[in-house]
Symmetry: C2
Subunit: 259 residues, 2 copies
């Protein structure tokens, strides 16, 4: 049993392929080429993640990492237009492989959060909000991370619901949109799931994975991405943070934004 | 004090900008344009993240989210060539803004992990390994996430050191490269820090942030990205996983790879 497990572990991991390549001089040029094509899959959920200017990088990519491991799943980054969409800091761009005009139906729609400028722009983009509303009609799940819930709210999807968002936007979410803010990692209200700030999208995606494919699959994905979090500090909870630390956090966020 | 804090919270968060925009009909088109430019910064650390075909999406993006909040920091995605570099699942592409030929010096070099094909290809790419070796000579920190440590090892940087990697590649790392594998979230050996699988890069990046900018800044970044992890399950630790769950995890990873 131990032998079988070890062998399977090696085969499934990098080791077997690496040993092969080292021994036989295998190059992966052909594979790399193939990887340039987007994976054609069928039968699994179609997951669409909306990218808009100024999103925070981990908001779409954390959930994408988790949800792309669901059996048969396709994760598509969707932008206002096709092409590179840059983060709030301006440092990184992820490619939108489809424009909103090219996407009519999704099993899962996920809207990430952004810095102040990006969130405001998205909340004031009628075509974007209209696409979100239209797409939401046929989703099995509609989700947000961080200030993505403000965008869902601006699209009219959160009225009268319980939801969450980044701690610094909690007051705004509840006073502006009549939403009951809950300080939780993620909040489910019917088919809508909102996650707290940035990193909370990973926790939410595991919950969503369990809803869609069962708990065993979700647990296996958690193991696959080795999500056994051990941050060196215990400072991520705004409810326990000092005013001084909150101020420093907001100052760092502000200073890191692209100008 | 409470008033001041609240006001600062609102100003620093999305709320103030959003209220302004809603009231005044502000559009952020000009801001969005500006954001297309990469942020010119000076004085802070130059952080370079290597993208190679088939990397796992969260490996570079988790640390990038954290490290881009360091005061004055610039995070640059670096590829074999400039342009889109696709993940192991083929679902997502991040843009490499610089090619390895354009980057001579970095304060921090981070090498992400990949699926089997991508890791093997990187381990067998002499030009890539040579660039890693050359760049490492002048870094303050050289780091890896997941199977990125196999790439560092193939470049000759881990000989005789303690290091970590994705749990499924632990045996391979120690037997092939004479590395002492430690089953920790991240392992520091001199200026080299290796992180465990995929999500461990976030924990490692916070540790690195503290080393570079002090504990208060690191704690503030943790709060800024609301990293108060609460996964719905407790299945991320390979040492506690059943052989069956490990098999399912490896099967999901294998099945999600681009063909």
């Amino acid at each position: 049993m131990a032998d079988t497990t070890t062998r399977r572990t090696v085969l499934g991991g990098v080791a077997a392929g690496a040993a092969l390549a080292t021994a036989g001089g295998l190059t992966a040029a052909g594979d790399a080429q193939a990887r340039q094509r987007r994976r054609p899959r069928t039968g699994g959920p179609e997951i669409g993640i909306l990218l808009y200017d100024g999103y925070s990088l981990l908001d779409p990519t954390g959930p994408a990492e988790v949800l792309s491991r669901l059996p048969g799943a396709t994760v598509t980054m969707i932008g206002r237009r096709r092409g590179a969409v840059r983060t709030d800091t301006g440092d990184v761009a992820v490619l939108a492989d489809r424009s909103i005009d090219e996407v009519e139906r999704l099993d899962v729609l996920l809207v990430p959060g952004a810095g102040a400028d990006g969130t405001v722009a998205a909340m004031n983009d009628p075509a974007l909000l209209s696409w979100i509303r239209r797409t939401d009609r046929s989703t099995r799940w509609t989700a947000s991370v961080c200030t993505g819930s403000l965008v869902l709210a601006a699209a009219g999807l959160l009225a009268g619901r319980e939801a969450t968002t980044h701690w610094a936007s909690a007051d705004y979410l509840s006073t502006t949109f009549g939403v009951t803010y809950l300080p939780a990692r993620y909040v489910r209200s019917g088919k809508i799931i909102t996650a707290a700030g940035v990193s909370a999208g990973v926790d939410m995606a595991l919950y969503l994975a369990a809803q869609m494919a069962g708990e065993t699959v979700a647990r296996a994905i958690q193991l696959a991405v080795e999500y056994d979090p051990r941050p060196p500090f215990d400072s991520g909870n705004a409810a326990e943070a000092t005013p001084e630390l909150k101020e420093t956090a907001l100052r760092l966020l502000e200073a890191s934004q692209a100008r």
